[in-house]
């Protein structure tokens, strides 16, 4: 998904949240045939099937590209990935603190 290549994590956590929302509602939904679903930072991403087994790979790749660090398997957990807010809380902070 070349659309993700130029995205950076952003100066603030809010920018990262917006980048995630734009990515999921844009390229990710388009690629996986999801309709005009609107999401926010607190929308459950997986329990309702908004993101499926193909989408999760793209989402992980996006997080890795924007933070510049691999996502360890132990972090593939609902505590860190359940919503955009949790993703931002975990990975933006981690990227900032190195």
């Amino acid at each position: 998904m070349s659309e993700t290549l130029t995205v950076r994590i952003g100066e603030t956590r809010e920018e990262f949240v917006h980048a995630l929302i734009d990515f999921i509602q844009g390229p990710l939904f388009a690629r996986h045939g999801v309709g005009a679903e609107r999401i926010d930072a607190f929308t459950p991403l997986f329990e309702t099937g908004i993101i499926d087994s193909l989408g999760i790979i793209d989402l992980l790749a996006f997080v890795e590209r924007t933070t510049g660090a691999p996502v360890p398997m132990r972090m593939v957990d609902m505590r860190f990935f359940g919503t955009i807010d949790r993703i931002a809380h975990t990975f933006w902070n981690e990227a900032r603190t190195g």
Partner: protein, 258 residues
């Protein structure tokens, strides 16, 4: 334990055999506490049933087929070609629970159903270690079919019950989120989703390698849809199964006593 490397599974006798049966008796008792109906399934399973379950797509590297040497085919296919849909009607059961879904295929279940069975299973493991990873092994499974709420209660209760039985025989494992060993890289998303949603949790031996002693698997409506099994309101049933590897339990129980 008597071990011959030519064997697909260690021959058991004496204490080893008693240890295996003792583990099964305890897990069977656990199943009965959930109101399970006990059944005995055959060793072979129809290729059609496994294909309906998408087993061949997900785990072609583990599937073992049954060949007939006197086949009219002068050059029967080998390797992955032998997995072709037009070759052979039977496979060796890779797990117990596929029989359960096949048996109730196309049915409407008017109440939740719990089934348990002890069965021989076969997987084409690349590397084997007796008592740990074998081509042939025995599993006791408890399968529950019904509405989502029932399945969730069953899965949670079964997890606690497995832990209790393990403690009774001195096994102390740890529950870990896990995923199935899907063959194709394209299925890696399925594996990630399994891990993320904790659809599969394993009770792992706390040594290196995270060897699974048991697993609790939540399938959602996957098998309900694949086998057209419905609830009275016409919705696909949810399902979950608990799988206990009897050889591993017996092996580690014996090792633990030594």
């Amino acid at each position: 334990m008597i071990v011959r490397w030519q064997e697909s599974r260690p021959t058991r006798a004496g204490e080893d055999l008693r240890a295996l049966d003792d583990v099964d008796r305890r897990i069977r008792s656990l199943a009965m506490s959930f109101g399970a109906r006990e059944v005995q399934y055959p060793v072979l399973i129809s290729r059609e049933a496994l294909e309906r379950a998408e087993y061949r797509e997900a785990f072609p590297h583990l599937l073992m087929t049954v060949c007939h040497p006197a086949s009219s085919d002068p050059q029967p296919p080998t390797g992955y070609a032998a997995l072709g849909t037009d070759h052979g009607a039977w496979c060796l059961s890779p797990a117990v629970c596929y029989h359960t879904y096949a048996q109730v295929a196309g049915q409407e279940l008017d109440a939740p159903s719990v089934v348990t069975a002890r069965g021989r299973c076969f997987r084409a493991e690349g590397e084997t270690t007796p008592g740990v990873r074998q081509i042939e092994f025995e599993m006791r499974e408890v399968v529950c079919l019904g509405p989502a709420g029932t399945i969730e209660m069953f899965a949670n209760a079964a997890q606690s019950a497995v832990e209790m039985v393990a403690a009774e025989i001195g096994l102390q494992g740890v529950w870990q989120a896990a995923e199935d060993p899907f063959f194709l890289p394209a299925a890696s998303g399925k594996a990630l989703l399994q891990r993320l949603l904790k659809l599969k949790v394993e009770y792992q031996w706390p040594g290196p390698g995270g060897l699974a002693l048991a697993s609790v698997n939540r399938h959602g409506t996957f098998f309900g849809r694949r086998f057209n099994i419905t609830t009275p309101d016409g919705q696909p049933v949810h399902s979950a199964c608990v799988a206990v590897g009897l050889d591993r339990w017996a092996h580690h129980a014996v090792v633990g006593r030594e």
